[in-house]
């Protein structure tokens, strides 16, 4: 249901932008990130970056009812959509919000770039197929998300950002659609069996 809604939003697009952006927080919540995306500061730079559609999977969080999204109506499942117009002339962006999706991999495929929390599951799901920007959730008890984001960011496989840096790092993310980041190595299925076989006495 959520994906058909996102298509409807896509077809309404009137602007010259052509990119689709996905924002995902997995099964948890990360209101600092999802509410930042829905703030006027971020929404206003999206059209100029060529982004025409943003899908925001916001999980368990509450959406802040700020004025930028006052024409957003959210249904019982927590889904909704609106068009944001930048009156400075940069154009419009369609925004589609929803709590969860059954088919994240399809949404990833339909996106040109992805913004995600720094959970290892989400990173692994995206890092081999789309340009990825991750924002570690600093409110987590044991903040090893930042370790992983920084390590992968330092090696150039993704862009690591904080919520505060999002506006500048977004431009880097869009740039990497045309000029891809360093490709993350494919899964080497020979590695793990060697360790297991040695542990069990197979030579």
């Amino acid at each position: 249901m959520s994906t058909s809604a996102s298509k409807a939003a896509a077809s309404e697009s009137t602007q010259s932008g052509s990119y689709t952006l996905l924002v995902t927080v997995g099964s948890t919540l990360f209101p600092e990130l999802t509410n930042c995306i829905l703030s006027s500061a971020i929404l206003s730079i999206l059209p100029s970056l060529g982004i025409k559609l943003v899908n925001v999977q916001y999980g368990k969080a509450d959406l802040l009812a700020h004025e930028e999204i006052e024409d957003l109506e959210i249904d019982a499942q927590g889904s909704g959509e609106f068009t944001w117009t930048d009156y400075n002339g940069a154009g419009q962006v369609n925004v589609h919000v929803f709590r969860y999706t059954n088919d994240l991999s399809k949404l990833i495929k339909e996106s040109d770039a992805v913004i995600s929390h720094a959970g290892s599951g989400s990173i692994l799901e995206v890092i081999r197929s789309k340009p990825l920007l991750v924002v570690p959730n600093s409110s987590l008890m044991d903040n090893h998300q930042a370790q992983l984001a920084d390590a992968l960011g330092d090696q150039g496989y993704l862009i690591s950002s904080t919520v505060e840096q999002l506006d500048s790092k977004l431009a880097l993310l869009v740039k990497s659609i045309k000029q891809p980041l360093k490709p993350f190595p494919a899964l080497d299925k020979a590695r793990f069996p060697v360790i297991v076989d040695q542990t069990m006495g197979f030579e």
Binding site: G121, D150, T199, M200, F202
Partner: protein
Amino acid sequence: MQVLSCLSSTNHVIAGPMVVPLVVLVLLLALLLLVSRLVWICPAVRSQKPTKRQKDETCSLGVFLGSGGHTGEMKILLSSLDLERYKPRRYVVCHGDQLSLVAIANVEGTQPETQTSDYTILSLPRARRVGQPLLSTAMSTFKTILVALWHTFLLPLLQRPEEPWVDLLLVNGPGTCVVLVLVTYIRRFLGLSASRIIYVESFARVNSLSLSGKLLRPWVDTFVVQWPDAAGKGAAGLSGRVRHRGWLV
């Protein structure tokens, strides 16, 4: 005669206060025996070589599937294993963990919640929910231990005393797996043929270990990290038992 009775009466007088130190002494001795037995079987002290296996032999495999990211990683680890060699498989999940049931079906190429001759599923009560208070954690952990004890130690002991419940136990992190390793250790403690244990630390652990990882590291036969510094800076953290072969996911 008088001397003798005198002796026995002194004996009697002394015996009363001696009981307490005696019990303490026996307890201390038992503790000493327990600790020295644990040190003796601890892989960190003296790693045990596996018995040689032929190419065409099969190994039964126990897999613990805990939650979210851990299950996702375990799914990828299993996808690289030869399932014709590592069978039958016994999956251990926590009650109500639908995601892990779907992951099992994915790995096995079957529908969720079915079982075949190649694999079975054992469901444990969860030892700790996120944010659960300490006392109730202790209670629920105790319940988990009892259920695990019955299904992975006592029942197999009654049915086939000569073999452990699985030849290999594969775990990768979430809390309840510590309970499973603990119960699996009973056979090793008793000197019976026991499961070998592999722990794979998460891809998310770059320069420190998770709590489960820290607890289990001395006790497993092979401890795998996916980042070179996860178990300690540089080569210091690595040894014959602690392995790093790059990313496994």
